[in-house]
Amino acid sequence: MEFKGTPLKDRDIKEKKVFYVDWHVKAHYAWDCGIALSYFFEGLKNGKIYGRRCPKCKRVMVPPRMFCELCFHPTDKWILLKDTGRVNTFSVSYLNWDASRREKPQVPAVIEIDGASEGMGILHLIAHPEKIEWENLEEVLKYIKVGTKVKAVWKDEKEREGKITDIKYFIPIKEGK
């Protein structure tokens, strides 16, 4: 069996040994946030994290949604949650979105928000409590493990735009260590 295909080297392209053509697609969007997320982002703008409750299974869900995907039933109440939480899981990333290397690591984590039902987490970043920027993996592991308590650090009120980035990051808090 002869398997076909012509592997290329990076050089083949850089030195234009093969033909190629580039294209920059203008894939721009103006997405409708909708009922649940418009309310949620309005809350963030005011420094508040809101969850949504399902009357049938009683789950308080964050991120909020207008229907409970398990009961297939409308959710009925906005619940003001705390801006503290617990690390469900975390990682120490040396990569930017496009796989380029980072000098200093970032700590993405799933953070279960206090006030929401058990296991209800959102994705966000954890920063060093004082220096904000983490030095290396070892330093992160000194502060963070599964279960660590964290607290949100908000942008100044006038800088907030009603976006998930209104929370700058979370930082570990004392009794969590």
Partner: protein, 389 residues
């Protein structure tokens, strides 16, 4: 329900960068599958194409663009798409074309040309995340894998060195695969795997499957059509697929329940009561080292948290006598990961193992029934197919 047979399989070389367009890769794989099945394109009633995000090849409505390379001109053509699970879903999609009685033959082609996406294919995965809540954080694909791996390791207390054994096993197996991507298979020690460059702790470079261009294809046929092909025809005995909620941050990632639901569906269809005994060879999806173990548990081939322990005992090795050989092909870690074509490559490995045509990769123990599984989306879809003699 019509029984469905696999009559032929085709693959292209896997490479980090292929010169061929996606159409041409699809053609090479499809042509090879037809030749092995001894069929012409006119014998094919319908064509199925599976391919992951259009953003890789860089063509909107990618299925349309690939269709002539898949042999679909002037034929019923369907592209199904369940993210990374598409590879195994391709054979499932082809299966119901025939099991429904609508068609006698179906050509299934899986293609992926990731190298067209710049600056790096990994950047394309930024768009799999929620645009409102996650993309603004500058999210990278590996975040979700490392978050899941961390959860899996911490719940079961699995040491990193044990997980690294998966990469050691698969990269060694990949040395014997004719299509393996240059520089991907190899003999590595656990230390080399664990100490390779940290990408997204606890994931290190050698625990991640590469970016790959490649295509795979299989020919399916109904019972009546396949009877002409004598006895060593390989049959589809069971199929299953399942999709979990998209709210992945509300799920406990330590266990892939969607893989279990898909596996149960396939076992029920195949009449399998005790998978650990009745599955003789398995190709679980291994885009990351830990994922193979994670999926073996979801497939009910090991208890929760037990897969790593069995790994240490060599239970999943290719030349095991009483265990279940896992990823004898070398998997995504050892052969390459052209996403949809990687899933179908694993199905093809089970097909070749059952036909005894796996050459140096042929497992030692006797095999009458094998399972291939793919995974995809936000830790969310399981696709399972069971082949038998």
């Amino acid at each position: 329900m019509q029984k469905v047979a696999v009559l032929g399989a085709g693959l292209t070389k896997f490479s980090r960068r292929a010169k061929e367009t996606g159409k041409e890769l699809a053609f090479y794989a499809a042509k090879m599958a037809l030749e092995e099945a001894g069929l012409e394109i006119d014998d094919i009633d319908a064509v199925v194409c599976v391919s992951a995000p259009d953003a890789f090849d860089g063509v909107h409505m990618k299925g349309e663009y690939l269709s002539d390379g898949c042999g679909a001109s002037k034929k019923p053509f369907m592209r199904s798409y369940v993210g990374g699970g598409s590879g195994v879903f391709g054979i499932i999609n082809g299966w119901y074309h025939i099991a429904s009685g609508h068609f006698n033959t179906c050509l299934v082609v899986a293609e992926e040309k990731m190298s067209s996406s710049m600056p790096h294919p990994q950047g394309i995965f930024n768009a799999i995340y929620d645009q409102f809540l996650e993309r603004p954080l500058g999210v990278n694909l590996l975040w979700i894998f490392s978050l899941e791996m961390q959860r899996y390791m911490s719940v079961h207390k699995i040491p990193l060195e044990t997980i690294a054994l998966v990469a050691v096993k698969n990269k060694k197996n990949g040395l014997d695969h004719p299509c393996a991507q240059e520089g991907i298979p190899g003999n590595y020690t656990v230390e080399e795997i664990v100490n390779s460059e940290i990408m997204c702790w606890p994931v290190t470079r050698l625990m991640v499957s590469p970016v790959t261009d490649g295509a795979a294809a299989i020919v399916l046929a109904s019972y009546d059509f396949a009877k002409k092909f004598g006895k060593d025809v390989i049959w589809i005995e069971g199929v299953g697929w399942c999709l979990d909620t998209s709210y992945w941050t509300n799920r406990d990632l330590y266990y892939p329940r969607y893989v279990e639901y898909a596996a149960r569906m396939a076992y029920e269809m195949a009449g399998i009561k005790d998978p650990k005994k009745e599955i003789h060879v398995v190709e679980p999806y291994d885009p990351f080292a830990y994922k193979e173990l994670h999926h073996l548990e979801g497939l009910l081939l090991a208890e929760k948290g037990e897969a790593p322990k069995l790994l240490e005992k060599g239970f999943w090795d290719r030349d095991t006598e009483n265990g279940i050989p896992s990823s004898p092909s070398g998997g995504l870690l050892g052969v390459g990961n052209p996403i949809a074509a990687a899933g179908l490559m694993k199905v093809i490995e089970i097909y070749w193992q059952l036909k005894g045509k796996a050459g140096k990769r042929q497992v030692k123990r006797e095999v009458k029934r094998g399972l291939a599984q793919a995974w995809g989306d936000l830790m969310q879809v399981g696709t399972v197919v069971i082949l038998g003699k």
